[in-house]
Assembly symmetry: C2
Homo-oligomer: 452 residues x 2
């Protein structure tokens, strides 16, 4: 009976991984909101930020989303900026650590090795596992952020004449924001001041890509560059990410090529750089170098798709993840070819794994639909902008067509909820799906339905 109840996975026991993460994030948002409510957190705003603005900003920072209802640069004081920096760093590290622990647990329980080694070992993490994963994730973050910060601070000091102290502070802020896929910027115009400058845009884009691939994949890539040694997760992540980057860059560059409000006035090099940057950011860095609100509706739609897919599993990126999307594409390909098995490289993907991907994608579509429906009712905006903002919040992307700050309070509260659910939902779902047992009591006789 106990096994049966646990197996349903619907009402997790108190203390299930999903609940612990959700509680921790809720506590983090409460602390962050409290700090941002202090009068010293705002600049030139008396008597301080509103409750809604504080909660929105704290949620956006901790859930590494980057959507804003007030101008980050001018609304908050330096103290406020430090709070936002801290929230981004804690949120990014928290997500990466928990997700990486989950990966260790799942590989141990369900991977090839689990069946070759002792069964008794399966299903439990001890303190040394946690320490090891935490150490590696922190090392990964510190190295990635330090390299990016050094490059950006150097460029700000040498190329833009910023004083060393200011260049370092902005470099660190931008680097943490980029590596954790958060998308907060200390400038009112976002990244628009760096348009056409590869020394600023490329480090930010690379930090977003590396942070968005996720620690487990980067760890494998560092260990070996030979694709033959990669796990299926790394294989799918690398191929899908590369494909989406190339297709996204080509598509966005082409769609905005003649738009006088975006790429139109630039040279070909600038167009390509901006197109690349704009194709990286929906998954889910969230920085923008041209005004998203003035892009074409076709670009919005292409960006919607990229935001829905998101980045790598166990990374700081959001969305249904490239693993889910890539696996579904492989399943579809196998079905079209009539292959009974779904193979990736030299490995067969278990049917239960395929079903997990289906569940994550279906829940993502359902959640996006219901949220779009709700925000359409709560606002007076057009469908294209509403879909964009919903997918940006759910995918913790942070790009905006410009409507978020003008939404009624209920609309902004909905976005707060979506950022929270978008950040924690897939992780909670993945842990619930992956960790439970699958008892097989009996099987019923088969019968097919007609499809299509």
């Amino acid at each position: 009976m106990k096994t049966r109840r646990r197996a349903r996975g619907q009402a997790p026991r108190p203390g299930s991984p999903g609940q612990i993460i959700a509680l921790a994030f809720a506590a983090g948002i409460a602390v962050g909101s409290g700090l941002l409510l202090l009068p010293m957190a705002t600049a030139n705003v008396q008597p301080g930020a509103s409750a809604l603005d504080s909660v929105f900003t704290a949620t956006s920072a901790l859930c590494v989303t980057g959507l804003v209802v007030v101008d980050t640069a001018t609304h908050w004081s330096t103290f406020g900026h430090v709070v936002i920096l801290g929230l981004m760093q804690v949120g990014g590290l928290g997500i990466m650590t928990v997700a990486s622990l989950l990966v260790v647990l799942v590989s141990r329980r369900l991977g090839l090795r689990a069946r070759l080694v002792a069964q008794a070992q399966s299903g439990n993490l001890d303190a040394s596992d946690v320490r090891r994963v935490l150490r590696n994730v922190v090392l990964f973050s510190v190295v990635g952020e330090a390299v990016t910060a050094a490059l950006l601070a150097g460029r700000l000091a040498l190329g833009y004449g910023a004083p060393v102290g200011e260049a370092l502070w902005e470099g660190v802020f931008l680097s943490v924001s980029a590596f954790n896929n958060a998308g907060f910027v200390l400038r009112t115009e976002g990244m628009a001041g760096f348009v056409g400058d590869p020394w600023m845009l490329v480090p930010v884009a690379l930090a977003v890509v590396v942070g968005g691939l996720g620690f487990p994949v980067i760890f494998e890539l560092v260990k070996s560059w030979r694709p033959r040694s990669w796990s299926t997760t790394t294989r799918i992540t690398v191929i899908t990410s590369l494909g989406l980057l190339v297709i996204g860059t080509a598509l966005l560059t082409a769609l905005e090529y003649g738009n006088p409000a975006t790429l139109g006035p630039m040279g070909v090099g600038g167009k390509l750089l901006t197109g690349f940057f704009s194709a990286v950011m929906p998954r889910s860095g969230g920085f923008n170098v041209v005004d998203v609100g003035r892009m074409t509706p076709e670009t919005w739609l292409a960006t919607d798709v990229l935001m829905f897919i998101g980045g790598g599993s166990a990374s700081t990126a959001g969305g249904i993840k490239v693993t889910t999307f890539g696996l579904l594409a492989v399943v579809l390909w196998a079905e079209m070819r009539g292959e009974p098995d779904v193979d990736v490289g030299r490995r067969r993907i278990p049917v239960s794994n395929q079903r997990q991907a289906l569940a994550v994608a279906l829940l993502g579509v359902g959640l996006a639909m219901a949220s779009t429906f709700a925000l359409l009712g709560l606002s007076d905006e057009d469908l294209d902008r509403v879909i964009f903002e919903v997918l940006s919040a759910l995918g913790t992307v942070g790009l905006s067509t410009g409507i978020t700050a003008n939404l009624p309070p209920a609309g902004q509260m909905l976005l707060i909820l979506l950022m929270f659910v978008g950040r924690l939902g897939p992780l909670a779902l993945a842990s619930a799906l992956a960790l439970r047992g699958r008892p097989r009591h009996y099987r019923r006789p088969e019968e097919r339905t007609i499809i299509g």
Copy 2:
């Protein structure tokens, strides 16, 4: 080698079911367009209809969609109306016959019975099968249409004072249009003249529902009303259809309740009747009693979902079908509960069947996305209207927010293509997926990927 090539299912041999159906439909459209191009087909239009208008109308009629670029009532002569009636009847019968034959073939090859009886029998239809299915489908159509026509003609004569001849003609036209889920009406204002009249609206809605459930399901329902004896196909179709009707009616009535352009001025009974009618029509009857173009964007979005899902397999309805949608919902439910098997009633759904549903849904989403993208580029319309028109064409629904007639020629040609693909694609796909062999040469070792 031959088995291998055939198993891939990508390049069907000449004479594959999918190709034969596509060629037959293309021929039907050519003949229909030719007839509509004749000067005698138009009323008061010299020197006759344009080529694009003729092809659009012929495709819309044969693919039982109902989208129009010219006013059916005033643009075409009675000869033109007879051509449209013929195309609707041939298209509806053709789809039902081919799909029902496929059902027989699939049940025989893959069903429980195939394994209990001789293997040699599998995979072939003989002339007696074709005759039997054709006879039953024609019987089903004639009975359904005759009953509906009698009710409608009687009401038109008694309630609206139409002369008997005219009442009969309009009753037959409307009945064929409804039963085959086509959505053509002989009145400029559509069904708006019958608003609040259950004697007209209920027979039309019921004909749409019965035609949209499909012959195999109706055949089982007629044989037995006891759910325990139903196949999984019938079980999923009935439950999903009922659920969508109830939810759709409640949702659409609530969303339009106070809209002065639609339900606002009506009494409660009229609101409910119109809400019910408007919830039946997206799947995929296509009749409208209030102006779709003046419904709220929320209603459009809800209607979009209903149009995407569509009606029953092997019916005159379009969409990915309620079987596909219902099966995916059951798979998701099983995954959330942690059940290793996906059971419907007392039967287990094979994994390959689940994968077919996934493939149909993914291709549907991909096709809808790409088409929306294309039509957004080809027109100056907003995303919400473009999505609506694309899903209406792909789902062969025929509802319109009013933009179809004003689209540029390239946009109208895209809709022609979508109606054709939307009508034949799922059938061709289902036959390709269901009919091929699935050789198992060897299996690779398993490895899971991380999801979400």
